[in-house]
Amino acid sequence: MTEIIKLSRARRGQEGRIHAVEAIEDNPADALELERRLLEFGLVEGARVQMIHEGPVGRDPVVLNVEGMRIALRRHEVRGLSLQLDEADTAA
């Protein structure tokens, strides 16, 4: 059984596949816009993602390797995304 975590809680080095994509914003219009942008950058269900860098202040923003592309984003932008960790990461 592999572990599913919030992508916004992931730490540097953790990797896995995007389990679910949902954008969380107070304003429904903002949420829809955020979801489209996340999808446009390739953060779709099933995409392979690894967190490769964390920002200097408060470990934010972060850089994700999304299927070979480097996408920089803020943690709270991906708080609606869940990540299914690979076996090795779950064990650790």
């Binding site: 829809l32 779709v44 480097r70 984003l73 932008e77």
Partner: protein, 619 residues
């Protein structure tokens, strides 16, 4: 541009080498202007197909989707959809980074719905080959329904093939009516699945993937080392602006001095000689002399941009700037504002959100633009001794660094206040792609640098030259009455204006000559230097007291010099910037907010500095 000529529009993701391809195709035959009504740069150029057919090429702002989110992307969408009458493309060229196809494939699928004939240019193909990336060109072409051509823009490879393919697709495909609509989330997901399917069917992953970018990033994005490198880079940049530019500045200074002397020698004394030597040559010369510094600054910015560092800087700065209510992406416009607030304000378009953009625009003029350099250099040369502190840091450079820091800190404070007053809790995404590092292409850097130099020179010619004549006239007419004892300028219009405004500026330690210089200095900051030169050169024409800095150090107290510096950190002394702000915000209100808050800060800062300096006995 004739209606019959074929127009080719280049569209692609940011960092796909689109502009490099545009430069390779058009060379120097390109025109940079603005789209009507908006300030998005419109880059159009001429190119000839191998058979001699002339075509027009358009370079459109990079985008991930036709679903426009920023003014830049609105232009891209409108041109692609044929909604801008000045640019109706006949053929679309989808420019793809061959090593990074996923997102552009989705864009290509969207482009197909537009119905125009299209070609895909697989750019940076040499890098893909070096990585051992295998692309089944024929299969890919069939899957996306458009011809695929490989190009290496930086080496001008594949350009003829691309143009032939453009002609071919134009001859064989009729434009269909557009069926494009804004994709909803389900459609974006479906398009991604389709793009993934195409990718796995026709592209074999690289045998030797780019590991260099990852290695460089592990240093440059390191939480501690990365920030230190960023700060060091900025510090080196400002030291370089001083030391590298010095020989060029000396040469220009000497050349113009010799020219002035030569003209004075061959022309009879009188009004015309005074106009040319004191007005034109010394006036424009005192501005032209800063061209080397501006070039050094732009060289740094262009190299960092081409190298791929700018996005990293935005990443490192986001949280720090976010504390002040600024978007990490505002880093790029604000950094450009170090060269000039105008491109800075304009490049704020890369920020999707209206609120973040407006905040960035409002504080951009607080960043120390290159037009302040002449003013700062002059005052520093006059009042700060040429010494070295701590063994290696030039004191003058250190003061300059301090002035830059004052600009940055005040920008952060003002944006924090704007955010607190005007909008609270508004959220805007930061998301951006970090491009692979690339060696900057010397040709394109040179071309860009030349364009910047030309903009500066045109500005010097068109705005500053006429102003210098006005300043000269104001400080020459009317001439002193017979038997007058004071300097000629005491009796001129400039003297009258200066004396009339003097009471307002007396509390901050400004004398009337300075007030005279501030008036034309409204047109552009650097004009103040030229105006001071004219005011003092005319006033002391006979005694010929060395350089302007020498004159100032004798005429002003240290407190006055420091107050003048403080004034210039804040004062909105640039009508051109205000004009751009009005245009970019599409509002007189925001422009006036800027004018008022900046003058208020300038007066306050100069007042505090002057009073403190006087209290410490420097008056």
């Amino acid at each position: 541009m004739s209606a019959s000529m074929t127009t080719v529009a280049l569209i692609g993701n940011p960092n796909s080498g689109k502009t490099a391809l545009f430069n390779a195709l058009t060379g120097s035959r390109q025109k940079v202007a603005n789209y009507a009504g908006v300030t998005v740069e419109r880059k159009a150029g001429a190119v000839r197909a191998p058979d001699g057919t002339p075509m027009t090429v358009l370079d459109l702002p990079g985008t991930y989707s036709l679903r426009a989110r920023s003014p830049d992307e609105v232009i891209t969408r409108d041109v692609v959809l044929g909604r801008r009458p000045e640019d109706v493309p006949d053929v679309l060229v989808v420019v793809a980074d061959a090593t990074n196809l996923r997102l552009v494939l989705r864009l290509a699928l969207e482009i197909k719905a537009v119905g125009l004939p299209a070609v895909m240019a697989l750019n940076m193909y040499d890098i893909a080959e070096r990585q051992g990336l295998r692309i089944d060109l024929e299969g890919l072409s069939k899957a996306i329904g458009m011809p695929v051509v490989t190009t290496v823009a930086t080496r001008k490879r594949g350009l003829d093939d691309l143009l032939v393919a453009v002609q071919g697709v134009l001859a064989s495909t009729a434009a269909r009516p557009s069926t494009w609509h804004e994709p909803d989330v389900a459609e974006i997901r479906a398009a991604h699945r389709e793009a993934s399917r195409i990718l796995s069917a026709h592209v074999r992953p690289p045998e030797r993937p780019d590991t260099l970018t990852g290695k460089i990033d592990s240093v440059l994005l390191h939480p501690v080392a990365g920030l230190l490198i960023l700060l060091t880079l900025l510090f080196v940049m400002f030291q370089a602006v001083f030391s590298w530019a010095a020989p060029g500045m000396d040469a220009i200074d000497m050349g113009l001095g010799a020219l002035g002397g030569w003209v004075a020698g061959i022309m009879p004394d009188g009004l015309l000689q005074s106009l040319i030597v004191d007005g034109l040559i010394s006036g424009v010369g005192s501005v032209l002399v800063f061209l080397p510094q501006i070039l050094v600054l732009f060289l740094f910015i262009l190299l960092l941009e081409d190298f791929g560092y700018m996005a990293r800087a935005a990443f490192l700065m986001d949280r720090i700037m976010g504390g002040a209510g600024l978007h990490g992406r505002a880093f790029i416009p604000l950094l450009s504002s170090f060269a000039c607030a105008i491109p800075g304000v304009m490049s704020a378009r890369v920020i999707d959100s209206k609120r973040d953009r407006l905040t960035t625009i409002m504080v951009a003029p607080l960043m120390t633009c290159s037009a302040r350099i002449p003013v700062y250099t002059l005052i520093i040369a006059a009042f700060i001794p040429r010494e070295t502190v701590w063994g290696w840091v030039e004191l003058q450079g250190l003061v300059m660094f301090g002035l830059y820091a004052a600009g940055i800190i005040s920008a952060l404070v003002v944006s924090f206040v704007i955010r607190k007053i005007f909008w609270r809790g508004a959220f805007e995404p930061f998301m951006m792609e970090l491009p692979a590092y690339k060696m900057p292409d010397p040709g394109s850097v040179a071309l860009n640098l030349w364009q910047r130099a030309r903009i500066f020179l045109e500005r010097a010619g068109r705005i500053i030259l006429p102003l210098m004549v006005v300043v000269w006239a104001l400080s020459t007419f009317p001439g002193p009455p017979p038997g007058a004892t004071g300097a000629a300028i005491d009796y001129s219009f400039a003297g009258m204006i200066g004396r009339a405004l003097e009471p307002i500026f007396a509390p901050i330690g400004f004398n009337w000559q300075m007030v005279v210089a501030l008036v034309p200095g409204m047109a552009a900051r650097e004009v103040a230097v030229a105006a001071l030169g004219t005011v003092y050169a005319v006033a002391d024409a006979e005694s010929a007291v060395g350089t302007l800095a020498g004159v100032l150090s004798l005429q002003w107290s240290l407190a006055t010099g420091l107050a003048f510096l403080a004034w210039y950190v804040f004062a909105p002394q640039c009508v051109a910037t205000l004009g751009v702000v009005k245009r970019e915000t599409n509002s007189w209100m925001w422009m006036w907010v800027m004018v008022v808050y900046m003058f208020a800060l300038a007066y306050l800062a100069a007042f505090v500095v002057y009073r403190l300096a006087v209290a410490f006995g420097l008056g």
